[in-house]
Structures are given as structure tokens and as C-alpha cells.
């Protein structure tokens, strides 16, 4: 499923996907519609533009995951909107790609997203690193013991991703297997998403939204 409000883009992406042998179940230009048709279309992967005219990317991701748990979301954005990319990742997107990426990079990203891998750009790795540090600094043990932390290895891997090394290069440099590197990257996202859910729940309880 392709969600993008720019018709030219939608067509281009759809064509690339079709040529690569993917089964395109739906295309739409609106986030609300994407959430509505997702249960019927049952996509495995949603290619999502973060900037939609109706609702925010985060809302779309939340809606998609609620309607279709386990659906994988690959975000595309035309510009470095740091905070919205980070929010989208925390909401549950597992992949991120700049729109300026080449067709090959794009198809590779779709393939990996479909396989359940996290697709990081160096930029996203920098954002995630920064987010962990912000949480570590601001959270404090008194406030909540649950602020997620990266292991030393995860930090190392993430820094190398941010510096543009491929998983293969990272594996070679740290003498790890390709799979292990992938798992480390995946974990950094997983912990952040879990923390985000915990925070949302706590917020809901504080606001009394959990009651009848």
C-alpha cells in the first residue's frame, strides 16, 4: 500500500514496486483513508509519506497498527523533519528513507521492511541516539526507572550507522555477524517504541483516560 499525497510520487513509487514484482493492494493520498481501507486491503508493507494533508504521520501509523497489528511501515519524507521522523519511529514505524533515495535503495528498503528488518538512514540513527541521550539526561532515576538505555554495543552500532557504514561494514569492523548487527539496530527501535507505549499509557492514566 502506498500513501502519498503527491500524485506523481504515488505513480512513480507504484510503478517501481510493480516492476519489482510487488503486489500493490492500494494507493491513497490521505492518511484517514489509509487507516480506513487498511483492514480490507491487508497490506504487508505500507509506504507512507510523513506529510499528509489530513492527519499527521504519527496518527496514521497508530491507526494502521491498531487496525492491522504487525503491519510494517516504511516512512518516506522529502525533508529532514527531525522531530516528526522521530515521533513516527516511536509510534511504530520500522523504516525510514529520504525521498531522494534512488530506486534501488528504495526497493531494497521495501524488501527489508517486508522481512521485518529496521531500515535506518544515517540521519535516523543520529536522531535515535539523540533521543536516548535526551531520555537518559531528562528522565532521572527518581522520575522513572524505566527510561530506556542503550547497551555499549548498541550505541557503537548506532554511531556507525549514523556515520554511513553499511551493516556489512559494521559487522566486519566489530567482528560480529550481519544478523547480530541487524538485531542490535532492531533492539534500539524496539526499546524506544516500548518506552513510548509505556509513556502514553501513563499519560492516559494521569489524565484519567483509562476510566469508563
Amino acid at each position: 500500500m502506498v500513501v502519498d499525497d503527491h500524485p506523481m510520487w504515488r505513480q512513480g513509487v507504484a510503478r517501481d514496486l510493480a516492476e519489482a514484482g510487488y503486489d500493490l493492494v492500494a494507493t491513497t493520498g490521505e492518511g484517514g483513508q489509509a487507516v480506513r481501507i487498511a483492514p480490507a486491503a491487508r497490506p504487508d508493507v505500507v509506504v507512507l509519506d510523513l506529510q499528509l494533508p489530513d492527519i499527521s504521520g504519527v496518527e496514521v501509523i497508530r491507526g494502521l497498527l491498531a487496525a492491522l497489528p504487525g503491519v510494517r511501515v516504511l516512512m518516506l519524507s522529502a525533508s529532514g523533519e527531525e522531530q516528526s521522523v522521530l515521533d513516527a519511529v516511536k509510534a511504530g514505524a520500522t523504516g525510514y528513507l529520504l525521498k531522494s533515495a534512488s530506486t534501488e535503495e528504495f526497493l531494497e528498503a521495501v524488501r527489508r521492511t517486508a522481512a521485518g528488518d529496521a531500515v535506518f538512514t544515517p540521519g535516523l540513527a543520529g536522531l535515535v541516539l539523540g533521543e536516548y541521550r535526551r531520555l537518559a539526561k531528562g528522565g532521572g532515576p527518581a522520575e522513572d526507572g524505566g527510561a530506556p538505555r542503550l547497551t555499549e554495543r548498541e550505541t557503537e552500532v548506532l554511531r556507525l550507522v549514523a556515520k554511513g557504514l553499511s551493516y556489512k561494514q559494521i559487522a566486519a569492523r566489530l567482528t560480529l555477524s550481519h544478523r547480530t548487527v541487524q538485531n542490535h539496530v532492531q533492539n534500539t527501535l524496539g526499546k524506544l517504541q516500548l518506552h513510548n507505549r509505556v509513556e502514553l499509557t501513563r499519560y492516559a492514566i494521569e489524565q484519567g483516560l483509562d476510566g469508563p
Binding site: H6, G12, K99, S100, G123, G126, E131
Partner: protein, 391 residues
């Protein structure tokens, strides 16, 4: 005041003055009716009261029009009051006044004082109060306790109302400025959104679709990519819109900073180097440094990137990673070029060519930071700048 804005705030004040005039006019007429038998020249009260009523109506009408609220009207207003006051000894009679019979302008005389105060602030209000007060005192044979109190009250009213009117004008001006500023910001954001939704998308599309073509098309793709990156940096040169920090974050952000002096966001400076060949990775939150430090760091990164372009070949790509942890700001610049053979840098320094050493090490050392250059043939080069930020 000449530069008054539309004055919408003053409209209720003028209306209140008009109401006061009519109320006090009714009071004067009633008092005259009651005391008419005590007057020295009862017939003289007729033109005086006609003037009183006529001017009350005229003033209500004229002051309602902003264009008319000038010196001629204010002067005439005061003159009418003085005429009524000064006519009082003849119409009412000195002995009657001294016996406590009110003058022809009792209470009503505060109207012009208020009008002066609203039109020009405290000082004008005070001047009008003093003029009317002195005239009021002059018609009495002796300064009684009551008339002195009246004078003081009128002075107080003039000053207080003038102050309030001035405050109103100022807050109105401030509000107007804020509204203008907000409109400008909104317009800027609208433009940024527009550029984002159209131009950036098309540029990215051109880059994408033409990237695997040959010759001129590939050149076009490269140009489109460069322009997209440049425009993106330009549009992003502000805090991300449509984002509100959760409450906890808001509180954390509100903490005052210890450091004085202007600080700038290092991310904004580094974003200027973004291009299809240069990726910038940074946190989502600002990395604040004193302006001069940030610009030095930016220049050092620029020198490192220049170095990449010069030595690592045109195909080389570069990645910049900006991190901040525990008061240390780290900027890493990595390229995928051929790398620097061991000892090459030391050799260059011995030969007196100080390119990298001077511009990067020098700049960062001046700031009290450290530079590490890691490279191996075939592995690219990584320059890491580390700087402690005292907070």
C-alpha cells in the same frame, strides 16, 4: 498623541465620559431648580443652563468621532466649563455660593478634565484639572475644606484616567505588534509548507527518476539533488513546526540556562553542509553552543568536508554525526574515500603543509577541544571533534 492606533480601546472610555456628562448635567439642572429662589439673578440661569445642555449634547456627538478629538474641541470644552464657572458668581451670587449653593458647573466640570485625560494621558488630565480647579476656587470668597477636597479629587481623576488611557493605548500597540509578528511567522510557515509540498517533492522526483540515466540527464539529477538539499536546509532552518512537547519535556525545557550570551543551534550550521554527497545526522533537539564556538566548529567541519572533496575524489560520500552527551559535543566526519596512508599527515606537517592540521586541529584546540583523525587505506577517513561544553 499623533501615533495612536485605531483606538478601539478608548471607545468605551469616551462613551463613559458622555454618560457622565449627561448624568452630571441632570444633576446641575436639578440643583438649579431646587436653589433657583436663592439665586442672585435667576433669569441668568436660563442661558447658562441652555449652554450646559447644548454643550453636553454637542460634546457627546463630537467626541464620538475620532477625527474631531483635537485641540479645538478640547479647548472649546474647557472654555465652556470656564465660562459657566466664572458666570456662577453673577448668576448664583457670591453670598449664595459661600453659603453652600453649588455653582453652575458643579460635578459637570469634571467632564472636560476626563476628556483631556483620555485624549492625552496623565499630564493633560492634570493640567485640565488644575485649570478647572483654580477657576472653581477663584469664584469662592474663601478656600473651604470641601472645595479643596473637590480640587484634589478632580486632580486624582485626571491623573488616574489619563494613566489608564495611556496604558490602554500602549497595550493596544503591543497587541498590534504581536499580531503582525504572528502573521509574518504564519506566512513564513505557509511558504515553507508550500515549498515542501511542491518544489522539494518535484526536485526529489527528478533526482530519483533521472539518476540512472546517462550524460545530461544524470547531470540534471545531480543538480536537482543539490538544490533539493539546499532548499531543504533553508526551509528547515527553524524549529520543527506542528510539534508540541509533552508536558514533562515542556517543564524540562523551561529550566533556565546558566550560560549568558547568545547561543545558536549547531544543527542549523551543520545542516548548511547537507548535500546528496553529505549526510548530516543529529539529534532532534537543539545542540546549543555560544555563537562564536558554534561557528568555529562549523568552520572546522567545513574544512574537513573540503578535505574530503579534495582528496577522496568526486565520487566520495561523507557522513557527519553530531552528538551531545554529558556536556560533551562530538562531531564526527567520515568519508568513504581511499583513506590516508599511515604517516601521511605527519609527513605533510613536516613538509610545512598544514591544511588539515591547521584548520581543524587549530580551530578546535583554540576552543579547548580535541581532534582525532582515524584512517586506514581503503577504509575512508574519520575526523572526530570533541568539545566540552561548560554548563
Amino acid at each position: 498623541m499623533a501615533d495612536e492606533p485605531s483606538g478601539t480601546f478608548q471607545v468605551p472610555l469616551w462613551r463613559a465620559i458622555a454618560v457622565f456628562r449627561f448624568a452630571s448635567m441632570a444633576y446641575v439642572v436639578a440643583m438649579s431648580a431646587v436653589n433657583l429662589t436663592d439665586y442672585a439673578h435667576p433669569l441668568g440661569a436660563i442661558p447658562a443652563l441652555a449652554l450646559l445642555v447644548g454643550w453636553s449634547v454637542a460634546a457627546a456627538y463630537l467626541y464620538a468621532r475620532p477625527a474631531w478629538r483635537g485641540w479645538p474641541l478640547l479647548g472649546a470644552d474647557l472654555a465652556v466649563t470656564l465660562v459657566l464657572l466664572l458666570a456662577s458668581p453673577w448668576v448664583v451670587g457670591r453670598t449664595a455660593i459661600d453659603n453652600g449653593v453649588p455653582s453652575l458647573a458643579v460635578a459637570w466640570q469634571a467632564g472636560p478634565v476626563l476628556a483631556w485625560a483620555v485624549s492625552g494621558g496623565r499630564r493633560r488630565g492634570a493640567v485640565a484639572a488644575v485649570v478647572v480647579g483654580l477657576a472653581d476656587v477663584s469664584v469662592r470668597a474663601k478656600l473651604t475644606h470641601a472645595s479643596a477636597t473637590g480640587l484634589m479629587l478632580m486632580l486624582l481623576a485626571g491623573v488616574a484616567v489619563g494613566h489608564v488611557a495611556r496604558l490602554g493605548v500602549e497595550s493596544e500597540q503591543r497587541l498590534q505588534r504581536a499580531v503582525e509578528l504572528e502573521a509574518a511567522t504564519r506566512e513564513r510557515e505557509r511558504l515553507a509548507r508550500g515549498i515542501h509540498d511542491s518544489v522539494l517533492q518535484v526536485l526529489a522526483l527528478v533526482q530519483r527518476r533521472a539518476a540512472h540515466l546517462d550524460g545530461e540527464a544524470a547531470e540534471l539529477a545531480r543538480l536537482a539533488g543539490e538544490q533539493e538539499a539546499a532548499l531543504r536546509a533553508l526551509v528547515a532552518g527553524r524549529p520543527p513546526r506542528s510539534w508540541q512537547p509533552p508536558r514533562q519535556e515542556a517543564r524540562r525545557r523551561a529550566r533556565p540556562r546558566q550560560r549568558a550570551g547568545p547561543e545558536v543551534d549547531l544543527r542549523a550550521i551543520l545542516d548548511g553542509y547537507a548535500s546528496p554527497a553529505v549526510s548530516i545526522a543529529a539529534p532532534a533537539t537543539p545542540v546549543r553552543l555560544p555563537a562564536d564556538v558554534a561557528h568555529e566548529v562549523g568552520a572546522a567541519v567545513g574544512a574537513a568536508l573540503d578535505n574530503v572533496a579534495r582528496h577522496a575524489g568526486p565520487e566520495a560520500r561523507a557522513w557527519v554525526l553530531l552528538e551531545e552527551e554529558d556536556g560533551t559535543v562530538t562531531v564526527a566526519v567520515r568519508d568513504d574515500g581511499p583513506g590516508i596512508p599511515a604517516g601521511r599527515l605527519a609527513e605533510a606537517a613536516r613538509e610545512g603543509r598544514l591544511g588539515v592540521a591547521q584548520s581543524i586541529r587549530g580551530r578546535i584546540a583554540d576552543l579547548g577541544g580535541a581532534v582525532e583523525i582515524i584512517s586506514a587505506p581503503g577504509e575512508g577517513t574519520e575526523v572526530e571533534l570533541r568539545l566540552r561544553v561548560s554548563r
